[in-house]
Every structure is written in C-alpha cells, then in structure tokens.
C-alpha cells in the first residue's frame, strides 16, 4: 500500500458529493500554498513545479474518494505533498551541493553576492543547507502559511516545539543572510 493509499483509506465517509465541489475554486485556493511549499522544500524552479503537479494529480485522481469536508481537503493535499517531497529526496540527489551553500557564506563580499545572485538564489542556497525536518517546518510556515498550531497538528510535534525549532532555524538563516 502506498502512502497515498494509506491516506485515502483513512478518509471518512461523510459528506460532499464530488460533483457538487467547485474544483476550479479549490484549485485556485490550494495551488499557491502547495507550489510554495515545494519552493521552500526543494527549491525554486521546474522541480517545484513538477512536484506540485504530481501532488495535484494524485489528489485529483482520488478526489472522488475524498468524502470529508472541504476544509480538510487542504490538510489532505498537504499530506500528499509531504509524501511527494519525501519520495523526491529518496529518488534524487540533493538539487544543490553543499559546496554551493558555502559560497553564500564564505569567500565573497556582499557586493559580489549581490551581483552574482538574486535574493531568491541566495535564500534557496541557504535553505538547501537545512536538515530535512527544519526545511519542512520552514516550508509549512512560510510556503504554505500555516500557524505553529497547524504545523504541530500535521507533523506530530508539540506547538511549543514547533515554535522553538522555527525560531532557531530562522535565527540561523538570518545570521547567514
């Protein structure tokens, strides 16, 4: 059983007929969060687009089996996205070698960096140096825009733990920015 099958198997049986759902609206509402989740999680560019596509296609294939309230749809979609990200890292080498991150923090003046790289590239390189869990927390917080409480509900961490970890990560990134 795949991770998605397990998710679908846990779905409840109450509720909205698939035909009654405005999928256009759902798509418009959910796309930015999932897309940005992957941008923070794996980096900006085509890989984030591909993983976003995979996530939505998986969700859409099974949406007829999705019988919970639509408010829960975003949580379900996010669970699929997290699994897609995990699969991506299992299957692929890191998109950015660690040496690339070193160039962000050493050997260049701020002016040089500004000339060579946009802020997006710089932050992407910094994010690539984070451990998987830390990067996922950043992606959930800043990519999806979740509260610490919502992140705690998704990750199984306590809310205070999420806050502490995020604080530490952000301070670390800030120091190297």
């Amino acid at each position: 059983m795949t991770a998605e099958d397990a998710l679908f198997a846990r779905m409840e049986t109450r509720s909205i007929p698939a035909a009654a759902v405005d999928w256009d609206a759902v798509y418009v509402q959910q796309l930015p969060g999932i897309y940005n989740f992957f941008r923070y999680r794996v980096g900006d560019g085509p890989v984030a687009e591909d993983l976003t596509s995979i996530t939505f296609e998986k969700a859409w294939r099974a949406r007829a089996r999705y019988r919970r309230d639509l408010a829960g749809f975003s949580t379900w979609l996010l669970a699929i996205a997290r699994n897609v990200a995990v699969d991506h890292y299992r299957a692929a080498r890191p998109q950015l070698p660690l040496e690339a991150a070193a160039s962000v923090t050493t050997g260049s003046t701020p002016e040089d960096v500004a000339v060579r790289r946009s802020d997006l590239d710089r932050l992407g390189a910094l994010l690539a140096t984070l451990a998987g869990r830390d990067r996922e927390l950043v992606a959930l917080k800043y990519g999806v825009g979740l509260t610490n409480r919502a992140i705690a509900g998704i990750t199984g961490l306590s809310e205070s733990n999420v806050g502490t970890l995020l604080h530490r990560v952000v301070q670390d990134l800030r120091a190297r920015w």
Binding site: W23, E49, Y142
Partner: protein
C-alpha cells in the same frame, strides 16, 4: 518570540500563470466528464476551428441563396493540419476558458448535457448512450477497465459577434482577412449526442476510449465553404497560400480538421478496421512543469455513424492494436 523573518516571507511567489493554466487543464482531464478531455489539447483547437468556420457559414448574403435550407456538418473523416503551437497558446490566452466562444457573444443552452455519469458496466452504459457500446477485445497486459461514463445529449444555439471576430483577427495581426458583412447576430445550432467514455488503467499506463455519434452543427447553406474554411485556417496560424490550398481540397461538411502542434506531435493516416483514421503521436515538448509528462498517442476514426477516439500513454503500435480490436 520575535523572528526577523521578512526575508523568508519575501521568498513566496505566485505560481507562473502559464504553468497554473497547464496544470489546471491536466486536472480537468481527471474530473467528472473529463475522460473525454484526454485529447482536449487537440480537440479544443479543432472545436475552435469548427466554431470559426461554422460561424462564418452564417453569412446572410448566402442564406438568401440557400433559402431556409440548412447545411449540416457531421464528422466523417479527419485531416491533420500542422500548426504552430504558439498560435494556440495565443488563442487560449485571448479567451482562456472558451476558445470557441471568442467569436460568439451569446449562447443559449437548450438542453444541458450535465456532467458525465459513471455507469456500473459497459452494458449499463448502453441505455443512456442509446447504442450498444463497443469495447476493445484486446488490451495490453495489466490494463483493465477502470470506469465507464456517459455524457448525455446537449443542444445549444450560438450567436455570432462580428466585432469579436474583428477583435480576434486584429489581435492575431491578420490584417488582410476581411470579416464578412452582415455576420453579426447570425446563429448556428450545435447538437451533441451521448458520449461514452471508457477509462483503462494499469500501474504504468492509461488508456481512454471515447465513442459517440457525430455531433451535428446546423448552419446556413450555399456558402463558399472553402473560402470560409480558409479564414478559419488563417486564424489557426496558417499562411495565406497554405490556408487557401488546404481549404480548397477538403469537404467541409464532413471533415474534422485536427490541428497538430508542429513542435510536439507527429501524425499519419491509418486504417482502423477498414476505415480511414488519423494517428497522432504527442511527443514530450520542451519546457517545464505539467507539460513534461504529456506524451501519448491518439487515434481517431469513424465507423458507420460513430466517431471513435482512443488515447493512451502506450506506444502507437499498441494503441493501434487495441483500436483494431474495438468491436
């Protein structure tokens, strides 16, 4: 806890519009009724062409000559027309949701077909379809029927807008194409008959078989069909001489033109169960995002009164073998 995190917040971006649009189209193929849209990129272009040509048929000057008789378009054969995919992107951008509506300003839905309804079996689909449903006798290993759905009959009347057509021609820089006088407000009627959509699936592949009696488009008769078809072909991006040559060589009452993007597809004429057909192979286009995985094969053919389309991620040889087994 105070985090100075503005630099992180500013990393957020909206998805690129083109990417968001392409992904939405991919997802629509999975929605109810969307199995029929598995070949949407091709047929959307064909529909736009038909609509353009059909609208031009509603020219009152020719109606006078035709008295009250109506001409009727039915699909009997297919012809591929290579065209620059960038033109279709531009047409889509001009009217993102309903490319065919860009020359109409009013649509009366006389009979709403509603979304396709999933049926319990092929036999059960025969009732709402109004015919015995054909199915492949051969399937490559692993493929099995996933769903069968039926889209019901629909009727609509469309009102032509000359100003919209002028805007469209101007937007496409087709300054040498004249809009026929008296076109505005003319109506055409579209009658779609039940469509049966079978979806097959394996771990690695998808296959959809779509069958229906041909849709019918009623329009005034007696017109210079090749001339009007030529205008439609110009809208699709063909140059003047090529459009004229193709338009003059076709039977516009029975031929469905299938625009094939030159940068992503190849096509050839085939025979399916003794009937002429068209095989289109969609290659993986350059570029990122949702388009990357959209490779596959489509074969279109007619048999008697029925139109078939078989589309899958299989090799062309396998798709043809399945098509030959449909009975």
């Amino acid at each position: 806890m105070e985090n100075d995190d503005k630099f992180l917040q500013e990393f957020r971006r909206d998805p690129p519009a083109g990417y968001a649009r392409r992904l939405r189209e991919t997802l629509r193929e999975q929605e109810e009724g969307a199995p029929a849209r598995a070949w949407r990129p091709l047929l959307a272009a064909a529909a736009a062409l038909i609509a353009v040509v059909a609208a031009l048929f509603a020219f009152p000057a020719v109606r006078a000559g035709a008295q009250s008789l109506l001409d009727l378009f039915r699909v009997r054969s297919f012809v591929a027309v290579p065209f620059d995919g960038a033109r279709m992107d531009k047409l889509r951008a001009l009217d993102r949701d309903h490319a065919a509506m860009m020359i109409f300003d009013h649509k009366d839905v006389l009979q709403e077909p509603g979304p396709p309804v999933v049926q319990s079996s092929l036999a059960a689909a025969a009732g709402p379809a109004g015919f015995s449903v054909a199915a492949p006798a051969y399937l490559p290993a692993g493929l099995a029927l996933d769903t069968v759905a039926v889209s019901r009959e629909g009727r609509a009347r469309l009102s032509v807008s000359a100003s919209r057509l002028r805007d469209l021609l101007a937007a496409l820089d087709l300054n040498d194409v004249e809009v026929p006088a008296g076109l505005d407000g003319q109506q055409i009627a579209v009658h779609t008959l039940p469509v049966v959509i079978q979806s097959y699936r394996s771990d690695r592949h998808r296959l959809s078989l779509i069958q229906a009696r041909s849709p019918e488009i009623s329009l005034p008769t007696g017109v210079d069909l090749p001339r009007l078809g030529e205008i439609g072909l110009r809208i699709l991006g063909l140059d003047a001489s090529e459009a004229r040559r193709i338009a003059a060589s076709l039977d516009w009452r029975s031929t469905l033109l299938v625009p094939v993007p030159t940068n992503a597809s190849s096509f050839r004429s085939v025979t399916v169960r003794g009937n002429p057909g068209l095989l289109i192979t969609t290659t993986k286009p350059d570029g990122a995002g949702a388009d990357r995985r959209r490779a596959g094969t489509v074969v279109l053919w007619t048999e008697g009164e029925r139109v078939f389309a078989l589309r899958g991620t299989l090799d062309p040889e396998d798709v043809m073998q399945v098509a030959e087994s449909v009975r």
